[in-house]
């Protein structure tokens, strides 16, 4: 396997990878995943101010004021989400592939991909569409703006089952796998992410306190767990890609196909 030329610049090394890297499909999906979560963080935290979320107990006039204050961030931020969310299927595809690489039936990969394909609308895009409708007309009746606000945050926070069951599918596959694609402890870490979807349920009942949609437990602890979980699985999927020999059977412990050394850029 030829290595990238040491004298070449970034473009030359990338071209070399494009031509030669036998795991290009995996690396493209992995980098897409990394870029997607970075942009997701920038849009939801810095631009649209949806994370951390505004208050569930605000009066309609205060909600209308929030839309007015956040207008530009909402419409441009969600514009970016509407543009780049095609990257999410690449994340699901890579995770689905991790299950195809395991010793388990394809039913796990197909269930996971189907569940996460469904989740894009209720779990993220619906909230984005509702908040865009709120931002579109600042002169709309505050009662209606307040309805859009509730609907957006409750669909965003309160879409639970898809992530609950999806995570459970991945977890069971990891625990049953004999090919050692992931360490066993990561199987159990999935329980933490799965529990965040259980813990968030009271947000459908409480409008204030630790269980409201902006609460210490419902938002802060859950988001912390999700962030750690996401960082861990991105790292583990990278490790899987490095080890992968593109064959069946146990995944080798050492890097295979000599492709990663030149991919560091």
């Amino acid at each position: 396997m030829s290595r990238a030329p040491r004298d070449g610049g970034l473009a030359a090394r990338l071209r070399e990878q494009w031509r030669q890297n036998p795991k290009l499909e995996l690396w493209l999906a992995w980098w897409t995943m990394v870029v997607f979560y970075q942009i997701f963080g920038i849009v939801f935290v810095l631009m649209t101010r949806v994370m951390p979320p505004p208050k569930p107990w605000w009066e309609p006039e205060r909600v209308a004021q929030w839309f007015a204050d956040t207008h530009d961030g909402l419409v441009w931020g969600f514009g970016i989400i509407f543009l780049i969310s095609f990257m999410a299927p690449a994340c699901n595809a890579l995770i689905g592939y991790s299950m195809r690489r395991m010793s388990v039936s394809p039913v796990f990969a197909y269930s996971y991909i189907a569940i996460y394909s469904v989740s894009a609308f209720p779990g993220m895009l619906l909230a984005a569409l509702l908040l865009c409708a709120g931002a579109l007309r600042p002169d709309r009746d505050p009662q209606i703006i307040s309805w859009l606000y509730d609907a957006a945050f409750m669909t965003f926070v309160g879409t639970m089952g898809l992530f609950l069951v999806g995570t459970a599918v991945w977890m069971v596959a990891i625990l049953l796998d004999k090919n050692r694609v992931f360490p066993l402890w990561f199987g159990y870490l999935n329980i933490c992410n799965l529990l965040t979807e259980v813990v968030v349920a009271p947000a459908w009942i409480f409008k204030a306190g630790p269980f409201a949609w902006n609460g210490v437990i419902t938002f802060w602890i859950d988001t912390l767990v999700f962030a750690v979980y996401t960082a861990v699985f991105i790292a583990l999927l990278r490790r899987m890609t490095v080890r992968d020999d593109l064959r069946e059977g146990p995944l080798p412990e050492t890097p295979q196909l000599a492709t990663t050394a030149s991919l560091r850029f």
Partner: protein
């Protein structure tokens, strides 16, 4: 990954392919008959003007019937997309990842068209309602129809990637199909930002977000049906000749 070389696995693909001209015809008819599209309703309309559009006795049947037809057949585009997934699976890839990416876009994307159709039908269901509420459904329909272009872009980008990585003497699709798909992705992209303004080319009735985007989607439907048809019909003939 397994290759589908036995003839049985191709059975029915030709039948599904021949449903596509009817599908495209239904999309064109809906586009022509829905009174909100010619010309597209400007987002600057007031709530009363929007309510009057849905209350107009001349508009009501056209709105409802065209949207019911789209409700029936619009989702049929998933058949086209799934036939394209099968083409990707026949490419010389090392993993099924790009086929999975495409399947993800094929399932997540058409739902958005479907939900937009529901919002429009809801706006038309009780037009005597408070105009502010009719405007709400109307806005949600237009935003859902226009802005979330991510999966349309994904369909183009992942197919282009799949074609570039289909490294074999006789690739499944010629390379110009990849370049065509990337050009369509670029044409569709500006519509993502339609909510940023009520006027101009980016607005949902504008040159970029409405005319360029929808022309690109229409062209994509026709061109992809043609290149897909060439493969589906040729594969089957080759199988029969070999049998």
């Amino acid at each position: 990954m397994e290759r589908h070389t036995d003839m049985r696995s191709l059975d029915g693909e030709r039948a599904l392919f021949w449903s596509l001209p009817a599908l495209i015809l239904s999309w064109v008819l809906v586009f022509l008959f829905f009174p909100g599209f010619f010309p597209p309703l400007p987002p600057t309309m007031s709530a009363d003007e929007v309510a009057a559009f849905y209350r107009d006795p001349a508009n009501q049947p056209l709105i409802r019937y065209s949207l019911i037809v789209f409700n029936w057949f619009g989702i049929g585009v998933i058949v086209l997309l799934t036939l394209l997934v099968m083409q990707i699976r026949r490419m010389a890839h090392r993993t099924p990842i790009l086929a999975y990416c495409y399947l993800g876009c094929a399932t997540a994307g058409p739902v958005l068209f479907f939900v937009a159709d529901l919002f429009w039908l809801l706006a038309a269901f009780r037009p005597e309602r408070d105009p502010q509420l009719t405007l709400l459904f109307h806005d949600l329909a237009w935003i859902t129809f226009t802005s979330p272009v991510c999966f349309l872009i994904g369909q183009c980008v992942f197919l282009a990637l799949a074609i570039f990585l289909d490294r074999q003497p006789q690739p499944v699709f010629p390379r110009w199909v990849a370049h065509f798909n990337l050009a369509v992705a670029v044409a569709i992209a500006p519509a993502a930002f339609s909510v940023t303004t009520l006027e101009g080319p980016l607005a949902w009735d504008g040159a970029l977000s409405f005319w360029l985007r929808n022309a690109a989607i229409g062209l994509w439907l026709v061109v992809m049906t043609l290149v897909l048809g060439r493969n589906v019909l040729r594969e089957r003939s080759a199988m029969e000749a070999a049998a």
